[in-house]
């Protein structure tokens, strides 16, 4: 499909460097699906959806800077929702997010709660000022917060919060956040890999499984169409947690 024109109807300043942008289109995504967001004249970048009609963007580079400069009434070109999102299963689920990775989990948590699932959420942030979507998660169940500097909740990384949970009681665990955090959580949940779904970030260019820039070593999984959500047992022995490739295909 050609990019759909989406007008911005609302911009919310979530933290100093995170904004939520809501569009005039209900895109009805499966939580965990992403959009290819075209900032006209700048670039096209993948973004997970945080609302049925919205994305939550962290300022990281040129394209996100350009998104931050947009105003209500201006528009973006959107392809999607694309890829395979999270699949809800079981009665008791755990969401584990780090930083802006909380965004797709908020959408997932709402869907789970609507289905009557018991949702527990563990979110890690750098400090109390970075907290994201606190009310959205508190509304659907128990929320545990960790901060690197101890300014809110448990002091430490998100994985530090795992010790206060009985992991065995969860039917499914959903991850989204920095890769070292997700790799750490998976490492602490040995034997549960088939019950863990992780949303993974790679360099997406085409978003349709042909250009190869997001292929995972050594399996050749095309993350843009087979992911971005992948079950953790498919990540064992892969590049996940070790390296990723940049736009030229060079490893870094």
């Amino acid at each position: 499909m050609r990019p759909k024109n989406a007008q911005i109807v609302e911009i919310v300043r979530e933290t100093a460097n995170v904004r939520t942008i809501r569009f005039d289109l209900d895109l009805n995504p499966v939580p965990g699906q992403y959009l290819m967001v075209w900032v006209r004249g700048v670039d096209e970048v993948p973004m997970s959806m945080s609302y049925r009609n919205g994305i939550t963007v962290q300022l990281v580079g040129e394209a996100t800077r350009a998104i931050f400069d947009l105003k209500v009434g201006e528009s973006l070109g959107l392809r999607g929702p694309l890829g395979n999102g999270f699949s809800l299963a079981g009665d008791k689920i755990l969401l584990v997010g780090g930083g802006v990775g909380a965004a797709p989990l908020a959408l997932l948590g709402k869907a789970a709660s609507k289905r009557g699932m018991e949702v527990t959420t563990l979110l890690g942030f750098r400090c109390c000022d970075d907290l994201l979507f606190r009310e959205r998660f508190e509304r659907i169940g128990e929320l545990i917060i960790t901060t690197d500097d101890g300014s809110e909740g448990i002091c430490g990384r998100a994985s530090a919060g795992l010790s206060c949970l009985d992991l065995q009681k969860f039917d499914q665990i959903y991850l989204c956040g920095p890769e070292p955090m997700m790799a750490d959580v998976i490492g602490r949940c040995r034997g549960m890999e088939t019950k863990i779904q992780a949303s993974i970030d790679r360099y997406f260019k085409c978003g349709m499984g042909i250009c190869g820039s997001c292929c995972i070593d050594p399996s050749g999984i095309r993350l843009c169409v087979e992911g971005p959500v992948i079950r953790a047992d498919r990540l064992a022995g892969t590049e996940f947690g070790k390296y990723r490739r940049g736009p030229s295909g060079l490893k870094n």
């Binding site: 006209r40 292929c215 050594p218 030229s248 295909g249 060079l250």
Partner: protein
């Protein structure tokens, strides 16, 4: 090769893992993404847009450079199918530099990418360049060399003959058709590079005609590529005179990597039904003149 269905250049072949997976999924051979002398990030996005009957792309030759690519070829070879390295350069010297630095089962000279300044079709649209570059690479390596041709010229056969004079072991036709799409909301060209190359079902009839004319005029084999997504497309291309076919854009179809096996098996069932060999099918359309 076990079968004549090959992964086309530019599709998935950035990493050894994806080349290997294509081979394990039934590709008779795999062609890498084009590799040059220095790392390139490629063009800004959007790099691909879906249009009527196919895709428009301007990736911009992203690649990690030959110095970082041998490992990918080696991993790709573990899939059990020949790995052909697609290479590009701005002239004979750069092509030779890349070719001499890589060990593969064959080379495909990219003289046809329609959207990279100073590379691809910008030099490959002149027969004298095609001949000179082909000859230079042939002199420097001992493995088969194919030349991928651009259809964005008045006479593709002239380019094919030039490749043949330069000593090519085969030609590959066609690369994408130069094309453009404009965003109606803003008036902006959609691709970051403004224009790009059209691939997919829309270009198949163009490719069939090019392959037909090339096969008629050349002594060396012609590999057909452009819009092949079903065994019927492959059969048609072979009837036009192709010795093999390459599949690219169709990898976006729901069957994904499975497309190689489905085309190869479909073709083989067809040949059994017709009680023909691939060789007997090849160029059959040329009898009707």
């Amino acid at each position: 090769m076990d079968n004549p269905v090959i992964l086309a250049a530019g599709i998935l072949g950035t990493t050894g893992a994806s080349l290997k997976r294509a081979a394990q999924s039934g590709a008779g051979g795999v062609v890498t993404k084009s590799v040059g002398s220095v790392p390139r990030d490629g063009h800004r996005g959007p790099t691909v847009v879906q249009v009527e009957g196919g895709l428009l792309n301007a990736m911009g030759l992203p690649n990690p450079s030959y110095a970082n690519f041998q490992e990918e070829i080696d991993i790709g070879r573990e899939g059990g199918a020949p790995v052909v390295a697609s290479i590009f350069g701005s002239g004979p010297q750069e092509f030779v530099e890349v070719a001499e630095s890589l060990e593969a089962d064959g080379f495909e000279l990219n003289l046809s990418c329609p959207h990279a300044e100073k590379y691809g079709a910008e030099i490959g649209c002149e027969a004298c360049n095609v001949e000179e570059i082909t000859r230079a690479v042939k002199r420097s390596v001992a493995i088969p060399v194919w030349v991928k041709l651009t259809p964005n010229v008045a006479d593709i056969v002239g380019l094919g003959l030039a490749a043949q004079r330069g000593g090519a072991d085969g030609v590959v036709a066609i690369n994408t058709l130069k094309a453009m799409a404009i965003d109606v909301e803003s008036g902006r060209p959609i691709l970051g590079n403004r224009f790009g190359g059209l691939s997919g079902p829309a270009i198949k009839p163009v490719a069939v005609r090019c392959v037909f004319d090339l096969a008629d005029a050349l002594e060396i084999p012609v590999i057909g590529v452009g819009g092949i997504s079903r065994w019927q497309d492959a059969a048609e291309m072979i009837m036009a005179g192709a010795a093999g076919v390459q599949v690219g854009t169709a990898l976006r179809n729901p069957e994904g990597y499975g497309i190689f096996r489905s085309i190869a098996e479909g073709l083989s069932t067809y040949l059994e039904r017709k009680e023909m060999t691939l060789e007997e099918l090849r160029g059959i359309a040329g009898r009707f003149s």
